[in-house]
């Protein structure tokens, strides 16, 4: 039982990281109707920016964190305007290829600028544990979860209570009608990409300390879990992405502890098997609804 609770908490910590990246994928999917394969690499690049501010410019973690989130927001919006927008009419496959090109490009740039060797991003949180009875609760997992939940609540409040948030939702649901009502839809799309980039920056800056060391490929495992979470939750459902991300983190930790077959190497295939099963039996995801195609 003790071990069970510990694994659940640790799983929630991992799951929080998957959830934030999955949420970023959902934001872009709702805005652009495309899966952004470069989402993880955008978070990776942001993490290197934070690392540079801390290591080379002597900043402490939180100012670097806020700065990086802001820069990533601008970067995401800029990518939408310069890379994605000109290809918007060219069809799904072309845009998917463009995000794959971004993936390769960002990964190459990061190993070029910062060298491919492993770096350390110190955790801003205490790495010890709290003892509740026999249960050792890892503090970092709890703080990771809190940071992600705070981001989610902030985003939700923005979308729910501000006029800009309403305009963003409107242009995702019905771009034509929104344009007629005076919403600048292309800028709304750029904002959507900005928020997604900011979220993946958060995911990267939490994942790097949690993995102790990071290198330019450190987000490639995280992004696969995030894909799984986004699809399992229903690719258009933000709430689904968060819930599925957390659930996936917990499930993988529990399977890793109690099922002998699920060695660390086998975790990813098992997660993908879950993804495949969900896609086959509930193609719309758990919280999504099946897409209706107009003929």
């Amino acid at each position: 039982m003790t071990q069970f609770v510990q694994q659940v908490v640790a799983g929630l910590g991992d799951g929080a990281i998957y959830a934030s990246l999955a949420l970023a994928l959902v934001l872009i999917y709702r805005a652009t109707h495309v899966i952004n394969f470069a989402q993880g690499e955008m978070g990776m690049f942001s993490t290197y920016i934070a690392w540079t501010m801390i290591e080379n410019h002597g900043w402490s973690f939180w100012p670097a964190f806020v700065f990086t989130v802001f820069v990533s927001f601008l970067g995401g919006a800029a990518i939408q305007q310069t890379v994605i927008r000109p290809l918007q009419r060219a069809g799904e496959l072309t845009i998917v290829m463009a995000t794959i090109a971004l993936l390769v490009l960002l990964n190459g740039l990061a190993s070029w600028i910062w060298k491919p060797d492993e770096k350390v991003l110190e955790s801003p949180f205490p790495t010890g544990t709290w003892s509740v009875g026999d249960v050792q609760i890892p503090q970092q997992s709890v703080y990771d979860l809190l940071v992600v939940l705070a981001c989610v609540v902030l985003l939700w409040a923005f979308f729910r209570f501000t006029k800009l948030g309403l305009a963003l939702r409107a242009s995702a649901v019905n771009p034509v009608a929104s344009r007629l009502l005076g919403v600048r839809v292309t800028w709304m799309l750029a904002l959507g990409w900005g928020f997604a980039a900011a979220l993946s920056a958060v995911a990267g800056m939490l994942a790097a300390p949690a993995q102790f060391v990071f290198s330019p490929s450190f987000m490639q495992v995280v992004i696969i879990y995030a894909f799984a979470a986004a699809v399992v939750g229903g690719i258009e459902s933000p709430a689904g992405a968060v819930v599925a991300g957390l659930a996936l983190g917990v499930t993988m930790n529990l399977l890793g502890t109690y099922v002998a077959f699920v060695t660390p190497d086998m975790r990813l295939p098992v997660a993908l098997a879950i993804l495949l099963a969900v896609l086959i039996f509930r193609p719309g995801g758990l919280l999504g609804h099946a897409a209706v195609r107009r003929v």
Binding site: Y29, E92, T94, M97, V104, L105, L109, L268, L275
Partner: protein, 344 residues
Amino acid sequence: MITRPALTAAGGIVAAAGVIALLPLVFGDTSEFRFAFVGAYFIAALGLQILTGYAGQISLGHSGFMLLGAYVTTILSVDHGWNDLATIPLAGLVAGIAGFLFGFPALRLRGVYLALATFAIPIALIALAKKYEGLTGGGGGKPLTRVLTGHEAYVTTWPIAGGMFVLAWLLLRGRLGRAFRAIRESEIAAVSMGINLALTKTLAFGISAFYAGVAGSLYVITIGFANPDTFTIALSILLLVGVVVGGLGTLVGVIVGALFIEYVPLYAPDILSWVQKPIDLNLDPQAAGAGATVYGAVLLLVLYVAPTGAAGLLRALVRTVTRRLYTSRGTEPPGHVVSRRREA
């Protein structure tokens, strides 16, 4: 009736085959070795072209099918004493059956979902290959029975590549090719014309994976060593890049894509130093990541400037030249408007 474009294409293909047959005369061992890899990439990219360019289904899983083919060859030739060349058809067949079976769940998925699901193939297969070390040699890899010289690898790979090219051409020019293109353009229209969507899509996956399996087999025969980490998602992405650079929906363009996959990383430092010469960025073009950076940038550039790829550029060039040759000034040839329409 044999049309002029068909003649032009046939002429081009015969010329290309001639060049490939004569290249060993001028090549050294290293170049022949590199070209053997180009041949393997060519076959794998042909398979992906059939699936993506013709049937319109995206796949990031083809490195996984290559892995299957590679290990069929490795295990049969090392542990069971088969002649490694004799394992090639079987390698293709095993991968093809796996692809056909994967096509079933893929049937329910479209576009983005399919791409995400195909992600699973190489990741799962690499993990399994590392887990069952007794069979595969695990993460440390497994050497094959013989080591080929560059020339041997070249003369092994290219005849097979040529055969696979002709096979693809024969497959695609007939009923099946039309069915593939129909489901690419509109699944609903295709079904209403009587095309069996499920069968056609799974067949596309199966045939495509067969090609990848043969390519994987030739790859390990050439390199003489099987290692699961050769066949990561990165290789799948490279293949997709090759197909797009060559031009979606064209078999001839695939050769450009295959050359691109093998040679761009090699010449990336040169490209970089040439690009930064006028702006004096003072970056080290030999550093790690330089190759990937060039790759990504070139891919983006292709998507913007030449969305029809190398084949599209070539076609436009041929068309311009032939129009100059065959048209007198001031008159447009009949069918001009149709021929200028952008190809999807």
